[in-house]
Subunit: 502 residues, 2 copies
């Protein structure tokens, strides 16, 4: 076992921040003497290292010995090694093998391409492949729109990344980005029945990525751009949106913005404020910060101040690139100046899309009554919830181990499902607002609470609700190719009793 | 019901060529009076049109009426209409709906992207996605070769086409090519457990296709080029083979060549001739003709004459493009001249990779004793088997309704499975020859017969045999990244008892 460079702090000292997690869990096959208390010793040894005992299976019993598979959640790989050493140190106990569960789960990748029709007989082959398939090809050749129903296009999305801004890891390359994109494909399928295929491209050139996606488009009903570094991501998305007739959606921007707005709408309901009236400070003027700013403006916010490492964005600030200069034009109406901490004075809402510990707890205490703090930097938030929980009304993070996790998985599956259902040509502002409102509405008035402003990532009601509202918004805003949301399954069943050929 | 332009002759007059087929089958829901002989009338009416009755299901019985689903194989769509009309004309019988089974089968396309790991709990999510996935990304970032085991790369192939030479249909465009490429993906999975994803590109520019495939390569362990028109296909394949470190295989060339050689090896066994001694006439100097020529040369053939519409290719023929000029250099040792018919005089083998009725039956009768004729043009062969079956020893076609079908599905699934199993960097001549020999060897000496020189497309022994021999050939020729063929499943299982992280 070698140590992994870890994207999270690697010692139990960070326990207030990082807890033992399934992502660093191991399964040891342990051989124990069949004497009373043997397992107790193992459990005690594990507990002493800070490891959390999970599943314990009995594998076999033989000649006074017992073999058990013991799963332990750890802080990190080094902690896993300490757990194994601690168990090995027990007299009469052997650790025969150790499985890193996360690595084991990724063996062979996480997705498959499977048949949705049978090919078991020559008759199947004659219909699915030659000669029958020629009839389908000709039908599409005569009317290209039929690709939506006669190929996978109507339910399939490309997840495209160049691997330059993956998680918190930065530019790690196309191959190394694949596990994330495969994970995304998993989530598309699991939550919304959307088939997604990961395409991690071996280029970081804007023109080449644009050309690549345009060339790939015929097979797909939508393009999910992912983990592409700013500012290239803006250019790529803008050009593809202009040139393609299918939705192009950079999830790091718009997925984050949708879920942030959903959470903000509910947070404002909890504290009884209106978005038109509040002062919102956005920390971070990257891809996510810009998209969050735009969506709160679209929802009616008026007093939004964005800041980057150089402080507030304001009209005429000399060091701004064109994207930030444009953002300064449509924000900061009172021309405020200063860094994030200074801007927080009197603010109602903080949206953190920047980096670890970007604001101080002291500054948070200068915010208005019933302050709302979304500290979404991962894994270390802009301010630790523990430090400010008594000073603010609501706190949300990007993490699953605090309440109110702002998690993109609440948005992208339903957004694409809705867009595909009506064969939308784009994902526009109306659809994004509809998605945010749909997520917010999943939590009823009676359930709403300072610690429950966004649904769980596993709430199965979210994606269908988002899909429905997104589809309606697409139709209402004139970007749908067809009026009704009609899932593939329904189409497939109905076709069994329609008419011959076309 | 509207008529489809048909790639096959569209009247029963063509019955000697085209038979009623599942690819033109319909299922009618028919309401019959519950009187003796009612179904007999329907069956008779269908038979009178030339339709072939298939499955008959009883759907419901009610108030003296019966509803049946009746499946009929037809010649073409127009024939389907005549069948429906004939049944409708029967007194008291109603056709309530008609389903075109081929179109129904293609509704929503033919493949899905599914999860190969569970994402049902927060623990699953923490391992398959954030935060756990970051550990996998970093491992690949540190050692790019680990993408073979930690992503889908090790078992996944891209099926890439520009839609310019699809089946016999020509340049029908990327969208219209998708049904064929999806079908290919089906076959990859069904016969060899290879995950294949179809990418039909919206460009026919050689540079753009090369750039596209190079950009797409990180996700894939191999590239199957498909239905790209000559001569661009040569250029694209040559450049990609030079620039990528994964197999690039144009199936129209090499898949056809492998199966042709397999059939030829067995045909020569049947007639007791050696490939070194025979005169082989190849009709067609396109992609498939060139590849077939090269593989028979690689297998030891010496006297091969290729002809195109301008007659035999010979050194110095003035109208040859560079590819054909080079082909002329390595063939036609006796500098023969003339068209296909003339060249057949005294020939032992005819390999037809050209077009319908390209040679005459009379010319076939001038071939040597125990002639072998492979008339592989589809759907209409170079010469109809009926016309020459008494004059030659062996005849093979590309069609499933005659014995000895030369079908690429015998090659490509096993070729890629074998290449992936050893993580080959390319598919070289040694691997192609091994594949052909493996296919040929599936038919034992005792089974071998003039009408059984190639295994059935559904023979499950073929792909594993091909994969094994291809993997061995890759290792022996030094293009394998690892020595043993180790299927993904085995890797996955073994990893359950290995070691932590690495």
């Amino acid at each position: 076992m070698t140590s992994q460079t870890s994207p999270v702090p690697s010692s139990p000292e960070g326990a207030a921040v990082v807890r033992p997690s399934a992502s660093y869990s191991i399964t040891m096959r342990v051989r124990l003497p069949q004497r009373p208390g043997a397992f107790g010793q193992v459990a005690t040894a594990i507990g002493a290292t800070g490891g959390i005992l999970g599943a314990i299976d009995l594998v076999r019993v033989e000649k006074g010995l017992k073999w058990r598979d013991i799963t332990v959640s750890c802080y990190d790989a080094a902690h896993g090694e300490r757990v194994v050493e601690a168990v090995r140190a027990i007299d009469g106990v052997e650790v025969e093998s150790v499985l890193d569960r996360t690595f084991a789960m990724h063996q062979g990748g996480k997705i498959e391409v499977t048949a949705s029709v049978p090919v078991k007989t020559p008759e199947d082959l004659a219909m699915a492949y030659t000669p029958g398939v020629a009839r389908i090809c000709l039908a599409i050749n005569q009317d290209r729109e039929r690709a939506w129903s006669l190929t996978i296009k109507g339910h399939t999305v490309a997840v495209v990344s160049d691997g330059t801004a993956v998680l918190g890891l930065g530019d790690i390359g196309a191959e190394a980005a694949m596990p994330v994109m495969e994970g995304k494909a998993l989530l598309f399928k699991e939550f919304a029945g959307v088939d997604a295929f990961p395409l991690c491209v071996a280029t970081t050139d804007v023109d080449e990525i644009v050309a690549f996606v345009k060339a790939a488009a015929p097979a797909f009903g939508g393009i999910n751009l992912e983990d592409i570094a700013a500012p290239r991501c803006f250019d790529i998305e803008r050009r593809l949106r202009a040139e393609l007739d299918i939705p192009v959606f950079h999830d790091d921007q718009h997925g984050t913005a949708i879920v942030t707005l959903a959470a903000l709408l509910n947070a404002l309901r909890v504290v009884g404020k209106r978005i038109q009236d509040v002062k919102i400070v956005v920390a971070g003027a990257g891809a996510a910060g810009m998209a969050c700013t735009d969506i709160v403006l679209a929802q009616g916010a008026r007093r939004v101040i964005v800041c980057d490492l150089g402080g507030a964005l304001y009209r005429g600030r000399p060091d701004l690139d064109p994207a930030r200069a444009a953002l300064a034009e449509r924000t900061n109406p009172e021309d405020e100046r200063g860094g994030a901490d200074a801007l927080l004075a009197g603010a109602d809402v903080f949206l953190g899309l920047s980096g670890p510990r970007a604001i101080s707890a002291a500054a948070v205490r200068t915010m208005a009554r019933d302050a709302i703090v979304f500290a979404m930097a991962n894994p270390t938030p802009e301010v630790m919830p523990e430090e400010v929980q008594d000073d603010v009304a609501i706190i949300a993070t990007g993490r699953s181990d605090y309440p109110n996790q702002i998690n993109n998985v609440l948005a992208f599956p339903g957004v694409f499902r809705g867009a595909l259902d009506v064969r939308a040509t784009t994902v526009n502002e109306e659809m994004k607002l509809a998605a945010a409102q749909a997520i917010a509405a999943v939590i009823g008035e009676d359930e709403l609470d300072a610690e429950y402003i966004v649904p769980s990532a596993f709430n199965r009601a979210v994606a269908p609700a988002v899909a429905r509202r997104v589809a309606e918004a697409a139709v209402a805003s004139g970007v749908a190719r067809r009026a009704g949301a009609e899932p593939v399954e329904a189409t497939r069943a109905q076709s069994a009793l329609t008419r011959l050929a076309t």
